[in-house]
Every structure is written in C-alpha cells, then in structure tokens.
C-alpha cells in the first residue's frame, strides 16, 4: 500500500495526464457522434482488413466444406421453390383459393436477404463476436437479424462502410424472445457462456411439458426476427424447484464452429414500426 502511494506520488503528473486525456476522449466520443462513428469505422476497418486477409488464405482449406454446405442449401431452396410452385398452380386454374396467411405477400416484399461472409468468429469466450465482410454499403444496419441456412445466428451490433460485427447467440449480452413451435408459450433465450452447442430458454411456465427434440423458433414479437426462424431443439428440460417456471437447454441449430456465410434480414417496415414506437 505504501509502495502504491509512493508510486502514485512519484508519477502523479503522468497519471493525472493520462487520466484527463482519457476523460477528454470519452467526452469527445460521447458528444461528437461524427468522431465516434469515425473511430468505430477506423477500428472496424483495421480489424476487418486483418481478418479478411487471414480469411483469404484459410478459405482454400475449407472449400470442400463450403461447397457441401452450398449444395445442401441449394437443395433446400430448390425444395422451397417447388413448394411455392405447388401452391401457385391451383390459384391460376381454380375458382377457390385457400389463403392461409394474407400477409404472406407483404412479408415477402418487406424482407430482403443479404449474404455476407464470416471473416472472423470465436466460440470460446463469454462475449463472442462475429465479423462479416459487409457493411452499410451492402444494406447492413444496426440491430439487424442475422441467420444462416440452419437458423438464427445473431444480431448486428455495429456497422462501418464495409464491415460489421454481430453479437451471436453465443454472447452473454445476447437476448431474444423465443417460443416452442406449435405452442404459444414463449421465453427468454440467452446463453450461459458454457457450452457453445447449447443455449438456455428460461421463464417457460411449468404447467406445460415440452418434449426433448421439440423445435424452438423465434417468437416474432420483435421486428428483428420474424416468427418461425429455427433457433434449435430442446435438449433437456430443467425444473427449478419452488418456481413456477421451467428452463430448457436448447441444442442450437446453427453450428457456430463452422460458420461461413450468413444472411442479414433487411426489414423494410422495421423503421416505420420503430418510429411508431417512439411516437407512442
């Protein structure tokens, strides 16, 4: 303790100098949005270009896996296209048309998918971050939902012109509403920072008894994700003694260890809904 005080007394000028400068910079960033954006831009540019350089090399080693992945996804999309054809045919020739959801057309128009390549990813930290090679120039924006072919990946945290960072499910700051497919019950999905294969769905009322393997999907209560994006499958039901809630261990649908391409969901009407929220 005495040594500490001696140290502070000896270097009080330098310490005070650094302290005031840190305060100055934080005031600067807080009050001058331009400098803040520039700083984030510069930081993202630096990290982005380093990761991209690394990625251009390592990509070649993964070409086989990526090909496989793209083929699978292609097949899935092909299947969806077939289904759409199947629905459209009767609408042309029959008098009676069954419409399950009148919003389908509007939904299709309001959503745009933008592909981006993952240039850096981590699994092992409590606050993992994904870097992608697309930014504002490619219609990515903050709080944008990000998925891949398998399911929900995360939410865009910050964007610069050419790069963006994503808060994946595997980040202790991540939080979203999710529900059990086929039942209306929803809970709060987060990650406990332990196993990168499993997330936790909490606050499900205990009078329902979900089964292992049931699908967990996005609830659609926020505009970030529409209803029905697959998040994962129930792995384990955990009853909390003395509480009227149960928690679920969810095996994540997305394999975060093998993430190559992701899609940002541009929601055309999100802005107008957000502005409504502010007005009220």
């Amino acid at each position: 303790m005495y040594n500490l005080i001696k140290f502070i007394l000896k270097y009080h000028f330098t310490i005070l100098f650094i302290l005031i400068e840190i305060v100055a910079i934080s005031i600067l960033f807080q009050h001058n949005k331009y400098q803040k954006v520039k700083f984030i831009n510069a930081a993202n540019f630096l990290t982005g270009s380093v990761y991209q350089a690394q990625s251009t090399v390592t990509d070649y080693f993964e070409l086989r896996a990526i090909n496989q992945h793209l083929a699978t996804e292609n097949a899935r999309l092909q299947g969806m296209a077939e289904e759409l054809n199947y629905i459209e045919v009767p609408t042309l020739y029959n008098d009676t048309v069954y419409v399950n959801d009148s919003l389908v057309i509007d939904t299709a128009r309001q959503l745009h998918f933008h592909a981006a390549k993952v240039i850096s990813n981590s699994l092992s930290k409590p606050f993992n971050t994904i870097f992608i090679d697309k930014g504002t120039k490619h219609h990515f924006y903050e709080d944008m939902g990000v998925i891949n072919a398998e399911g929900v990946v995360g939410i865009v945290r910050s964007v610069s012109d050419n790069y963006a960072t994503i808060t994946p499910i595997l980040n202790r700051n991540f939080n979203m509403n999710a529900k059990i497919k086929g039942s209306g019950y929803f809970g709060n999905l987060s990650w406990d920072g332990q196993d990168p294969n499993y997330a936790q769905l909490t606050d499900i009322p205990n009078h329902i008894s979900p089964l292992q393997g049931d699908t967990i999907i996005s609830s659609g209560y926020s505009q970030i994700f529409k209803e029905g994006h697959i998040i994962g499958y129930i792995h384990q039901v955990i009853k909390v003694p003395g509480k009227s809630f149960i928690n679920l261990d969810v095996k994540l649908a997305v394999d975060f260890g093998n993430l190559n391409y992701v899609y940002g969901i541009e929601n055309k009407i999100k802005e107008s809904i957000d502005s409504l929220g502010f007005e009220n």
Binding site: H12, F13, I20, I27, L28, Q30
Partner: protein, 170 residues
C-alpha cells in the same frame, strides 16, 4: 510568483479574444488561429505539474463549451500542457529563478518564439487531427494545422509583447 490582478485580467482578455474574435474568424476556410494556449504557455516554469494540468483542463473545457466541440480542445490543450515540462527542459528553460516565465527580454526572441511555436504546434496538430479525424485526408489536416499555426504564433508573439513589453516590472 504572486497572482496579481493583472494576470486575471490577461487571462480573461485572452479568453474573450479567442471566443469572440478568433473563433469566428475563418480565413479562406483554412485558418483558425488558436491563441488561448498562450495562457498555459505563460505559466511559471516552476508551477506544480498537477496544477498545470488542471488549469489546462479547465481552460480547454471552457473553450470547448463555447465552440460546441466538447473534448477536442480539452484533449489538445492537456496534451500540450503535459509536454510543456519536457519541451522546457530540452530548450534548457526549466532551471530558472522562482516564478519565472517565458518572456522576450529574458530569453530572447528566438528562444521564446521556438518555445511558443513548438507548444502551439503540438496543440494545433492534436486539435486538427481530432477535428478532421482522417476524414478529409491527412494533407488537408496538415495544411490547416500549419496555416493556422503561423497565424496563432504571430498573434501570440504580439500578445506577448503587449503583456510583457520588456520592462522589468515583475
């Protein structure tokens, strides 16, 4: 050095000059003279370091409040104040009688101008780096730095002559 009414008057006059005259002045889009760092430069050499930094912080912040650039002048001025003892040492100005400060009569025009010029340069380069922050290119930032620095130094030297006209009156 005792604080005389004269010092407080100088402090406020320079501050008002900066806020009311030099801040709105914008010659051909490049030149914004900043003379207020002179107030920190003119403080005695033997002043305690922490007091120097605190005074610089207060002065920088008050300029910031008036220009609406919170943090920029604060950062630049404290940066300059932090380097002042080292610059004084390099120019062998640090070993002086108690209460001595930079003046033309005692140190000569060249040394005074060098001391003030170097410190103003440090302040200006930090300020313009933060202000343009790589947005308009380094060359534009440097052009603004040097154009403004020339004027700042010129005005500062005139002010120094006015404040301390060479008569030994301390």
């Amino acid at each position: 050095m005792k604080i005389k009414p004269k010092h407080i008057v100088i402090w406020f006059v320079v501050l008002l000059l900066q806020i009311l005259v030099f801040n709105p002045l914008n010659v051909s889009g490049y030149i914004n003279p900043y003379v207020y760092p002179l107030l920190i430069i003119l403080l005695p050499f033997d002043m305690a370091g922490w007091l120097l930094l605190i005074l610089a912080a207060c002065l920088g912040l008050s300029i910031d409040v008036f220009t609406g650039t919170l943090g920029m002048h604060l950062f630049a001025l404290v940066f300059m104040a932090g380097l002042r003892p080292s610059i004084a040492k390099i120019l062998s100005l640090s070993k002086q009688e108690p209460g001595a400060y930079i003046n033309i009569k005692q140190h000569g025009l060249i040394v005074s101008a060098t001391f003030i010029g170097v410190l103003l340069f440090i302040h200006h380069i930090m300020y313009f780096l933060l202000e343009t922050f790589a947005s308009s290119g380094l060359s534009y930032g440097l052009l603004r730095t040097f154009a403004s620095l020339f004027f700042s130094l010129f005005i500062s030297m005139i002010l120094l002559l006015v404040i301390n006209p060479g008569r030994n009156e301390r």
